[in-house]
Amino acid sequence: MVKKLPKVDVVVVGVGWAGGIIAAELTKNGLNVVGLERGRERTTEDYFMVHDELRYSLRYEIFQDLSRDTITFRGNEKIRALPMRQYGSFLMGDGLGGAGVHWNGQTFRFLPYDFQIRSMTEERYGKSKIPEDMTLQDWGITYDELEPYYDKFEKMAGISGEANPLGGKRSSDYPTPPMVKTPNIKLFEEAAKKLGLHPYMAPSANLSEAYTNPDGISRAACQYCGFCERYGCEYGAKADPVVTVIPVAKKTGKFEIRTHSNVRRVLHTDGRATGVLYIDTTTGEEIEQPADVVVLTAYVFHNVKLLLTSGIGTPYDPKTGKGVIGKNYAYQVQKGSAAGFFEDVQFNLYAGAGALGICLDDYNGDNFDHSDLNFIHGGNIRHHQTGQRPIQNNKVPADSPKWGAEFKKNSLKYAYSVINVGLQGASMPYRHHYLDLDPTYKDEFGDPLVRITFDFEEQDRQLAKFISDRCAEIVREMGANLVESLKELGPYEITTYQSTHNTGGVIMGASPDTSAVNNYLQMWDMENLFVVGAVNFAHNGGYNPNGTVGALAYRAAEGILNYTKNGGLLV
């Protein structure tokens, strides 16, 4: 027997960055919002024993329990998709704050090129530059239109940075100055400038100094403790929904968070969402929460799963290319870096912060001429000093044994003498890369797992090799005695950690034929249903996605407020 609760203005599914931002904005403007979070409650106190590499980095303490829910994966449609039984390629967050707790804090704006990628590529290189099966499309919004929302997210989070000489224009400076320039960062800067490139300090959500944001939230400066990615921040210095937007929403008295609440269906009648059905996982009780507006802000896979299992929107059909739900799944080309081994110098690499670093965009977007190249786009090249923890950082030269006396000697010798310069490579969408429901495997409730069909294409291989060679040039210029860089990308495999930048599936666009949501992230097919996150990306750009997720969340919040006043489709 399903318990039916009284109706609320808005129900938000998944309380991470997107859900937290939307809840804060809506409650500040007088709406009553219920946030349903499938994981548990979380506060800064939970992070006090967090400097534990084994527990958090290797045993995945704050990540989703795969025994309850995971995804299945196949490289192409000819083979059977199998479950991701253990973590590898990407890590799915769990609990209040979601990925906003365990991220590094690297916060970028996409380039103007990203938002109009198809038209701009065709304009410069001709239609034939884009392979027939690459389902590239414009986003239905321009950089200039999204710029005020990027600004809002950066000011809320207190992003520490300096202007990107090759980026889109900014209406104002970053709210806090860049983080500290360590000796290795200075070395990268000098080398890049000598090569005629345009380095700038990487924008960081780990505060360079104490900061109070426009909402009145005060946070302390980052201590460079070196435990960012996969960890919660015990100082509150890393921007995290738990210490920024969720307290703001709660303070209004209009935001009710229910944790241990796993949403299984979006309920709808006659083309309108009526609420959601969820399970209280502590008691097993099934509950219906009616609402005037439903907002899906869970992780990428779960957003898609909810739409497909609830029968909302047209599922994507890779054979015909029709339909939109599950379309244009993309990832990040992360492999493709260069490592420099220094013989006579050591750096304080055990220390660092998730977003402490320096980067450049000379080889990102369409910032360089692709006329003679067999790929489009590129990626942000960077050197980040995140804190090299000892279990996972034992890099030795390629021809060194990987165990035994020689390995031990080399790993100790080079422990603080390897400088990595890597890329955040853009990922283009393809007709045969998509998300749908697996026919065989189920989650703990008996619902199908989401199935990923994805592989690296020639576009990715060429991009990775090209950018990796550019990384090697910089490392060589930095004075490394030995430089090793990517030989070839190989197929996409789910076993090695690369990046938790999964994008697409409910993409935004200008037309309901080719996209699922408009540029307020409102479903074309269901005007009181909004779906927000990296799930909206029509492709993934050459940067970490969260800056853009934050901007889209502020944009969606504005749209939802507008909708509650005026109704109708906003575009």
Partner: protein, 286 residues
């Protein structure tokens, strides 16, 4: 005093600790017994070995060889059995590390693991190897818990052999893989050299490990290279995880590597040249 009757046949009872035809008497009871008897004796020197030798419960007065074969020398767990320094030190005031006991492995499994991890990360002029750092205890403790049972992994059927790109698709839990892997290392050593793994020379042990690493061992149950990789990763974990977990004994893994452990802040050294700091553990954080 504990009453016991020697069982005439070789039936194993629940209280039987593996003594063929003997009685299972706890070490603690024996300690008490011996203390009463001679009034001296620290708990350090009373061991299973001594109990077996002295208590006279062995079959026919002679101790069966196999029973003694895998005793773990206390006091110097880094030592290879049979080497001169297996005698426990005379110092009775050294603090006891109760964590150096087994919660999963048999003694045989422990000793094979210890010998194997020592080959992966040996003692050298830089400092201690995996054995002295307690890596085998670390692995034992890990296998006893969640990780040993793949508790937070998706272990639902159906199981199919997948592409390499699709990751582990087996139905075995890590403790089962270790159980099989260690036994097969033993089998391979016997078949190739006629000796147990722990009795091989270091070069021979390396050859055995290499055979597993390169999938040159014919196994139908587990992937030899998969097992080797698990052993290698677990070794690095045991060397460098916080000492709370049983390895990285006294933070000597960190000291060797000049890793400062868990520090509250590095703001003072971020713009400086390479700086070595005294390591701190999670215990220092409490």
């Amino acid at each position: 005093m504990y009453e016991c009757t020697v069982v005439g046949d070789n039936t194993r009872t629940e209280s039987n600790y593996g003594l063929l035809g003997g009685c299972g008497v706890s070490e603690q009871a024996t300690e008490q017994q011996n203390k009463q008897q001679d009034g001296s004796g620290s708990s350090q020197t009373m061991s299973r070995r001594k109990f077996l030798a002295n208590a006279g419960y062995a079959v026919g007065g002679a101790v069966v060889g196999g029973v003694l074969g895998y005793l773990v020398p206390k006091g110097n767990v880094g030592a290879v059995p049979g080497s001169p320094d297996t005698q426990p030190p005379a110092n009775n005031n050294a603090p006891v590390n109760y964590n150096e006991a087994l919660m999963f492995f048999t003694q045989e499994q422990f000793l094979i693991t210890q010998a194997a991890v020592e080959r992966i990360f040996p003692a050298d002029e830089n400092g201690p190897g995996a054995a002295e750092l307690g890596v085998a205890f670390y692995i034992d403790h890990q296998l006893a818990g969640d990780w040993g049972f793949n508790a937070r992994e998706y272990m639902q059927p159906p199981f199919f052999v997948g592409e390499k790109t699709q990751g582990y698709q087996g139905r075995l839990r890590r403790r089962e893989i270790f159980y099989i892997g260690l036994r097969e290392m033993q089998n391979y050593s016997q078949a190739t050299y006629g000796k147990s793994f722990v009795s091989l020379s270091p070069e021979e042990q390396d050859a055995v490990l290499t055979a597993f690493q390169k999938d040159e061992v014919n196994l139908t149950t587990i992937s030899p290279s998969g097992f080797f990789n698990m052993l290698r990763s677990a070794t690095l974990e045991g060397v460098y995880a916080d000492p709370l977990y049983g390895g990285n004994k006294n933070m000597q893994g960190w000291v060797m590597r000049k890793y400062p452990g868990s520090q509250m802040s590095y703001t003072q050294i971020m713009d400086k040249e390479f700086t070595v700091l005294e390591p701190k553990s999670l215990r220092d954080h409490l």
